[in-house]
């Protein structure tokens, strides 16, 4: 199967099109066909639909069928491809059977930075579709794991034209490689009453502030930032980001006693469903009045989640900043841990910029190649990391003090 030349079709410039003769003789894909059945929407239908007009998607389907038959993948490693002046944003991908599937000989992916909160207008969606129909497979992921719009599969030659059209339309590439990765955030103040700071604005501002760090990899390894508006953490920042910003509050939960009574009257068992689940037993219910001992509250969100019309986060809002989460590779998975227990929402952006500059300086100096910040902290010790970035230790940073007496106490004062 060969590519037809660039054509003009219905006023739309069509870049990568298989001639219809070729597509007519595509072999059946019996294994994948099975996945067109069933109630859940089918990715196979999506690939097939793209394959009707796109040679790449047609060969992708055939190669995938072979993978299903042989129970193994057929993609080779990346290799360095990209757009001019950028060191990231494109994931190189090549078929390991280029003679058999020539249309996916190159099948590179563009990571396109999503609008904060994944909000779109219908026109924005159509713009992306038009560009990707002209320059790639016509297949996307909405969205990739880090948050980007994933434009799945194109050739090396199409990268630069696709990029030029994307930037002309107001879009830019996201991060890849040992760089700052595309920040992402929950819907936040856009449509949630629990958000304790403006997640979309923070995510957008950080993204704009660090375009160079995103597009030109200069770190020891990847660095992810995720912004969640409350401790429910809808973007999984505590599990997935090197720097997690999770909204919280410092003062008392806002409580509407009448609304609590309405919940009780409507059949909610306040004792069983709310008080008994409180992790610090900070609530009591006497059948008429809910009492919250706010000094014992750890701001977990359970009571607010259940009684959402009666309870709200407090008014003194801001965020906890945590550091060091990652998936298993290399030294094992880590959850993020507290770095700054509370920053007022008005001071978040400036505080984060200052922190990031110190963290990146220290990590750039002491981090090993392919060592995430969290792993570096494990290796060097949190206390040394704090010294390195100039933060004082506070008890909120640990679940408990050390229980082993092997203390590197070289500089404890008062030694004689």
């Amino acid at each position: 199967m060969r590519l037809a030349a660039r054509q003009i079709d219905c006023g739309r410039k069509v870049g990568i099109v298989a001639s219809s003769d070729d597509l007519d003789v595509q072999p059946e894909t019996p294994l994948l066909k099975d996945l067109e059945e069933g109630p859940w929407p089918s990715f196979v239908k999506e690939i097939k639909s793209a394959a009707e007009t796109n040679g790449m998607s047609a060969d992708l389907l055939q190669q995938l069928e072979l993978s299903y038959k042989e129970k193994q993948g057929h993609w080779k490693h990346g290799g360095i491809v990209g757009v001019r002046g950028y060191g990231g944003g494109v994931i190189g991908r090549y078929s390991d059977l280029p003679e058999k599937f020539p249309e996916v000989r190159h099948f590179h992916t563009l990571r396109v930075n999503q609008p904060a909160g994944w909000f779109y207008s219908s026109d924005a969606i159509r713009t992306i579709c038009d560009i990707w129909e002209r320059h790639g497979s016509g297949l996307t992921n909405m969205h990739g794991a880090t948050g980007d719009i994933i434009l799945l599969g194109t050739t090396t030659e199409e990268l630069e034209p696709a990029f030029n059209e994307l930037t002309a339309a107001g879009f830019d590439l996201g991060g890849s490689g040992s760089a700052m990765r595309t920040p992402s955030c929950c819907v936040g103040e856009g449509r949630c009453e629990w958000s304790c700071y403006d997640t979309m604005k923070l995510s957008y501002d950080l993204t704009q502030a660090y375009q160079d760090e995103m597009h030109r990899p200069a770190f020891p390894y990847k660095f992810k930032i995720k912004c969640s508006g409350c401790p429910n953490d809808c973007v999984a920042s505590i599990a997935r980001s090197d720097l997690a910003v999770i909204g919280t509050w410092k003062d008392e939960i806002q409580q509407d006693d009448e609304a609590v009574a309405e919940y009780a009257a409507s059949g909610v068992d306040i004792q069983r469903d709310v008080c008994d689940h409180c992790p610090t037993r900070a609530m009591s219910w006497d059948g008429r009045h809910l009492t919250i001992r706010n000094e014992d509250c750890v701001r977990c969100m359970h009571c607010i989640n259940v009684l959402h019309k009666a309870l709200r986060p407090g008014k003194e809002q801001g965020a906890v900043i945590l550091v060091g989460a990652k998936a298993p590779i290399v030294q094992g998975a880590l959850l993020a841990s507290v770095l700054v227990p509370f920053v007022r929402k008005e001071e978040l952006l400036d505080t984060l910029k200052e922190l990031l500059s110190r963290i990146w300086d220290f990590w750039g100096e002491y981090g090993n190649n392919r060592e995430r910040v969290g792993e570096m902290i494990q290796r060097l010790g949190l206390a040394n990391f704090l010294d390195g970035i100039g933060l004082d230790p506070v008890p909120q940073m640990v679940s408990e003090p050390r229980d082993n007496p092997y203390i590197y106490a070289h500089d404890i004062g008062g030694a004689k």
């Binding site: 129970k71 207008s121 107001g170 993204t207 505590i238």
Partner: protein, 361 residues
């Protein structure tokens, strides 16, 4: 380079500003939301301090979307939601409606196009997943196919909110975990089970030996001279098949059709609600790849979901339920065999040994 460089090349502009994609109701009430109501599975209503309302209709998607479907979504947005839509962190599509009367016809059109409405509150939302054989070099299994098969079986759990709590499933096709499945109620994880096959000739040309040696978490890769050239050897007893060496060096392929497969993990969460966030723990060490529908994986996941649905108390996530009943009971109720592979032997393994006489029989 003979290519003509355009006069003005646009770079480093970052993403478009989100504000231009916000529904006017959202723009007017940004940061001033008072409360929400759950109208039906997949349908939410957010009420602002001003009294204005925005309705959300959420539908599941396969994440891998062609331009045709995306244009269908755009058309639906024009027809029912003033041209505004968004996607969620779990790859659902959401339409944001100003008019309540548009909810029913939008739902009807979504369902007729094959996109189920649901995924809110105590349902099973969409499965976050990776690329698998569709686009990845290190995949030990496919991603989209298993997700499709599992969600076909759990379809009613997406469209209903009748579980004790929300239940989040994630799939990653290898230990790299692009899908970061390590904190999910149920995680489906592709695993390799054979050491890398070293291609000494290629290695010499495409890999950096020190980087390769450093990539191994267990120190199983050592430098070696092979045929007079610098290369490496693998101490196979020390290899736990993570595939990190292959990520840094293409001459260390891991793929093996017969030995690659799936493991199942349970009890993780990221939310801070009630209990602290926690990692998923091993439930089933290995299930062979069985495309196109991986029936054994589907059966295993459905079994865990059904046992949980029956045994957990209201608001208990899978991990919280297991902590209450204890792991012995979890293995008993699910009928999953406990094996030597369930006992951790990596760093800090001792922290997971039972270090008390608090035992359930």
């Amino acid at each position: 380079m003979s290519e003509v460089i355009p006069a003005k090349r646009i770079t480093d502009i970052g993403p478009p500003h989100y504000e231009k994609y916000l529904h006017p109701v959202i723009k007017r009430n940004y940061g001033k939301w008072r409360q929400h109501e759950n109208l039906a599975p997949g349908v939410l209503c957010h009420v602002a301090e001003s009294g204005e309302r925005i309705y959300t209709v959420r539908a599941g998607s396969p994440r891998l979307l062609g331009v045709k479907t995306l244009r269908d979504f755009a058309d639906l947005a024009d027809k029912f939601s003033e041209g505004y839509l968004r996607f969620t962190s779990r790859n659902n599509v959401e339409f944001l409606l100003a008019k309540e009367e548009n909810i029913a016809p939008l739902k009807a059109e979504l369902v007729s196009l094959g996109f189920p409405v649901g995924g809110t509150n105590n349902s099973i939302s969409n499965i976050v997943h990776t690329q698998g054989w569709v686009h990845c070099h290190s995949a030990a299994t496919d991603a989209s196919g298993i997700v499709k098969a599992v969600m076909d079986a759990l379809y009613d759990r997406f469209t209903h909110e009748d579980l004790p709590a929300k239940l989040r499933i994630a799939l990653a096709c290898c230990l790299n975990m692009c899908g970061a499945v390590h904190c999910s109620d149920i995680a489906i994880l592709g695993v390799h089970r054979t050491p890398p096959k070293i291609q000494h000739d290629a290695l010499r040309k495409v890999c950096e030996v020190p980087t390769l040696i450093a990539s191994c978490p267990t120190g199983a890769i050592r430098s070696a001279t092979v045929g007079g050239n610098a290369s490496v050897e693998v101490v196979e007893e020390q290899c736990m098949f993570c595939g990190n060496c292959y990520t840094v060096c293409p001459a260390m392929p891991m793929n093996d059709p017969e030995c690659d497969g799936i493991s199942i993990w349970v009890g993780g969460k990221v939310s801070n609600a009630r209990s602290e966030p926690k990692f998923s723990k091993l439930a089933i060490p290995f299930i062979p790849n069985n495309p196109p529908r991986w029936p054994e994986v589907v059966e295993a996941v459905v079994n865990i979901v059904e046992v949980y649905a029956k045994s957990a108390r209201k608001y208990e996530r899978v991990g919280e339920w297991i902590e209450r009943i204890g792991w012995p009971k979890f293995f008993e109720l699910t009928g999953i065999e406990f094996t030597r592979y369930h006992i951790d032997d990596f760093k800090n393994a001792g922290l997971t040994f039972a270090r008390s006489t608090h035992i359930r029989y």
